[in-house]
Symmetry: D2
């Protein structure tokens, strides 16, 4: 696979996306018409019943100016039990409602003979390219995103990425992965981002260490400060406990920062991570698991920093210029010649 903007020294998985982690799938429901440019994206940690076969997980909030839901229970119970959905800020309620309904359909005991379910919905504000007040995402789009989940992942202006703006250019869904050897076996860490952050004149954008302001700013119409949001989902098949996953997530800001952000006040910078090893069923009092020793974490830290930076570039490279609800945005692809 050709990498247009490769980052770091570690090799990628076959698709250079989060679905290189075995079992992980990504799907989208995209709505683009009239003043609408939004959608729902779904990351499935595995294709089985997540409610009965949970994955070990953690979250980390670098900047909490956002409305994502479901994080509290992740951090208490150290598990994820639904697909992770992404959508726009004001649609979180209806999308959560839709997700609960799909989970109840698959697990009719929820809230009756079984516990209730913890829907996970993360959001970015697409109000510049989408009339967000119309709150058009709901149960239908949830089902579509989940049912369409595939490997490799579609990237760019799809699903929740449809209306994203990143560093003043078109952002959206981006993904990248890294492979590494541990104890003689190859493991994978994958990252998916929905990129909607950075100065709206591109003033702060850095691509692989190179400041882009002189290229981008001249053609941008007006400036705003660093605002928006970025959701980052990290997956791996290395066996980890929740605490180790959180440590990985705390390195995500470095990857974001290398693209020029300083995580502005108005940005919800919210990160989720999960391990597909050691599925949690809780049928028995004890379970025996295999986890990584902390002394061996560095390769995961390096992987996540590299993959986050590259996933952000991917989100921009896969997103053509668009005209939306209140503004038009250029695409980073217009400057690809300046990047080589």
């Amino acid at each position: 696979m050709k990498r247009l903007l490769s980052v770091g020294s570690l090799p990628t998985g076959p698709y250079n996306d989060i679905t290189d982690v075995p079992g992980v799938l990504v799907g989208h429901s995209t709505l683009i018409h009239d003043d609408i440019r939004t959608g729902v994206s779904a990351i499935l940690p595995h294709s089985g019943n997540l409610f009965t076969h949970k994955v070990v997980a953690s979250s980390y909030v670098a900047n909490g100016f956002g409305k994502s839901i479901g994080l509290m229970q992740i951090n208490e119970c150290s598990t994820i039990e639904t697909p992770i959905l992404l959508t726009n800020t004001l649609s979180v309620g209806l999308v959560a409602d839709g997700l609960v309904r799909t989970m109840v359909e698959a697990n009719p005991g929820i809230g009756r003979t079984q516990a209730t379910v913890n829907p996970i919905v993360c959001e970015c504000n697409d109000g510049r390219l989408n009339d967000i007040q119309r709150m058009v995402c709901g149960e239908k789009e949830v089902r579509e995103a989940i049912l369409s989940a595939t490997s490799p992942a579609l990237q760019g202006s799809v699903g929740a990425g449809a209306g994203m703006i990143c560093h003043g250019l078109k952002g959206g869904i981006g993904s990248s992965s890294r492979e590494f050897l541990m104890d003689g076996k190859t493991y994978t860490l994958g990252v998916l981002v929905n990129s909607n952050f950075g100065h709206s004149k591109g003033k702060d954008l850095i691509i692989k260490g190179k400041t882009m302001e002189s290229f981008i700013s001249p053609i941008m119409s007006k400036g705003e400060e660093d605002k928006g949001s970025i959701i980052v989902v990290v997956a791996t098949n290395v066996g980890l406990d929740a605490k180790s996953i959180e440590r990985i997530l705390k390195r995500v800001p470095i990857g974001i920062g290398r693209t020029g952000s300083y995580m502005g006040h108005g940005s919800g910078d919210v990160f989720l991570g999960f391990s597909t090893a050691n599925i949690v069923t809780e049928d028995t009092p004890f379970r025996t698991i295999t986890i990584l020793n902390e002394n061996y974490m560095n390769i995961l830290f390096q992987s996540v920093v590299e993959a986050v930076e590259e996933a952000i570039y991917q989100s921009m490279i896969h997103s053509p210029a668009v005209k939306g609800y209140r503004t038009s945005v250029h695409s980073l692809t217009e400057w690809m010649n300046d990047l080589s």
Copy 2:
């Protein structure tokens, strides 16, 4: 006002409820029919426009096995900008959606010329007395709860309290307040709980230091462990920053524990607090505020511990026995003679 089960040494406000804090109002929308016994409750920090005139706030999660939303932004921005809504677990999505719609109606710039809005919805699982899968709460009930807000607060099996079970007995909305002098002026701290926790045979219930097991257990049909949830909202008119509010919230488990709970695994124990002093408008770079010095916090700590314990008793005293969806529950009032 007669106090049936008074706790501690500090005096209460006029109503012995959270609305003794000047400006605070509480409203309910109650749904009771067929297999339905649920609702929405609303706590309004003030009766003005909360989106433009935010209150300083914090949250603390003692046990995060719950689906409450809105806490992340509270903890980043230190403000609450909507009414605080309570409902059942599976209705959080539709109630959040309804709350966003009422906020947009009052502030048409939300998501267009203004920032988006952070809806706060906390929940307890009423699935034993209510067919929670039917997800009957939404925009209509949100409006009704907000519009019906009054002082004093209605307590017991109203609003989100309709389907609560506490220590195996009927629980629900309870409230209490404390008054104290500071620098020559009288201040108030008020607490509102939605009580849905404790062992289902009442095995652990303690009333004012007295173990109730021998009274209650004999007539209870079957046992379950400590599960359910409790939402606690704390209000005060003392000027505090978010950090000080969080310190107050960290004392809430003591009040809960004195009623016999050990905060079981399956319980979402989620606490929100706000100060009505120092309204936040953020029009100017700087604002001048008056806040309490930490050395003077003890009276607030004592107040919250006393008021939480008493609010839990209030929630039970105001709730008659009921027969609901999957079970019947007795009322603590049946044992009032044993408590004197």
Copy 3:
């Protein structure tokens, strides 16, 4: 063993102290002369080399007005690698220095061929009974406390407990344990406290639900608010990850609160927990461990709440009245007739 003030429904281990957890030992070095009434206590998670064979651990700070050290690394690495030492507030530096020296002696590679070591020293302010400015605890007392470690644990006015005041009465070292069956095997949870908290007139003291003010206050000379500190160490042989241990520690305030405290501003309420299962050596990339499922945590929550309350009573029952540096304190044993 006779229990003078038994709490709750679960059985204790053979000694009703923290050393009922297999392998755990407790030792003390006590200094009482002239204006000095202080010391060092040591809790050993096991009697082997802790630096090379670490235990899984976590900490939780309910009120951080204290000077305990070593918690940061516990929470990052999820391990404890030294004995846990308790001493007075101003001696933390010299006691930490002494602990480092004993660790280097046993592991000459520390800081050279091996990593450095993270000393854990927790403290309470014994400045009312001890001239704390004299800072008399150091390396000698550290060695003595560690070398004298035994099972059962000595309790009362020993080691760091020598100068403690709890609810205006003599406090100090107290301990209690609980046993329970899991998956057909008996497990133990043990608690050790150093109690130095509560109102100095005993105004808030509650013993097993009974308010003691009317008994105690009349003979007390003068009043102060809730201040001081309490250090709580929790041990178990149940296999747990760090996150589950932290969940147990978050229930400790309930046990403290049942003795009458509301965790006053001036009190450092600091809790450490560890599991003796799944010793950490980190020789290999992966390790296989057996841990408890979260759904089975309730018995541990109940155990810690019961044992903390009882350990506090134990700390008072084992401590006779004393006259110290700046004040005299009565002993709870003077009221034992009122407690039956």
Copy 4:
């Protein structure tokens, strides 16, 4: 002042160091002889009595594999009441002891008529250039560091910086500042680092976006992973509450990450921040303060990211090559021609 490696777009203060924040002073005690290459550095938030005139503060731990002390109370009470000392890992105990003694000397009521004192000592492991087991820093060095405090700050291999290695090259004390206008007045944010992190072959070093591996690695003798530590102290004269300071500190990893680090497992990445506005005396129940609105935080976020990156470069530029206890290290200055 000539800036050899300037970062970002904001202007610096007159000295481009942390002492550009009015009142802040920095001093050092340096020990270099035989196998010893270590010391103590002191950052004074102001030159008055810090115990009676505390500064508002917060801390943030990006990676807690370290032994720094004093953070717990900072985060509870939101204040710093001593100079901030930096030293080597194993000397924390004696340096804390020395700091307590200097504080008691200046405030004889500590632990008697006044509260005890919370010493703040942060550390990095200088065991490659210094025989750290000899634990040579103590009270004498503490006094010398505090008494020698000046503006501008001395940088490089001074004080705790004497034995630092950063990205395989000589590190140490570095500092930088930024100035900005708010409400018509000029404010300052200053940063001081003690840099001891990064891959020991310089494999990951990035200078102003440029990967240095091809320049540096060829002459380096052997490789190790990212380990070590970095302590970052942030000062400003903008009025902030503790929560806002913590938000600034959460941006520090971006500045560190831009120099090539991914915050390795073995690195203690510990950050402290304080505001010199709104001195805390707590004489009265209430105090009136002027603080920044959150909406205006971005300039502080940008400042800290720029100043951290530049302070790390400063730490390396001011540090010549040295031969120490177990190894020799080159200086970044050897490659200055490659950086233009």
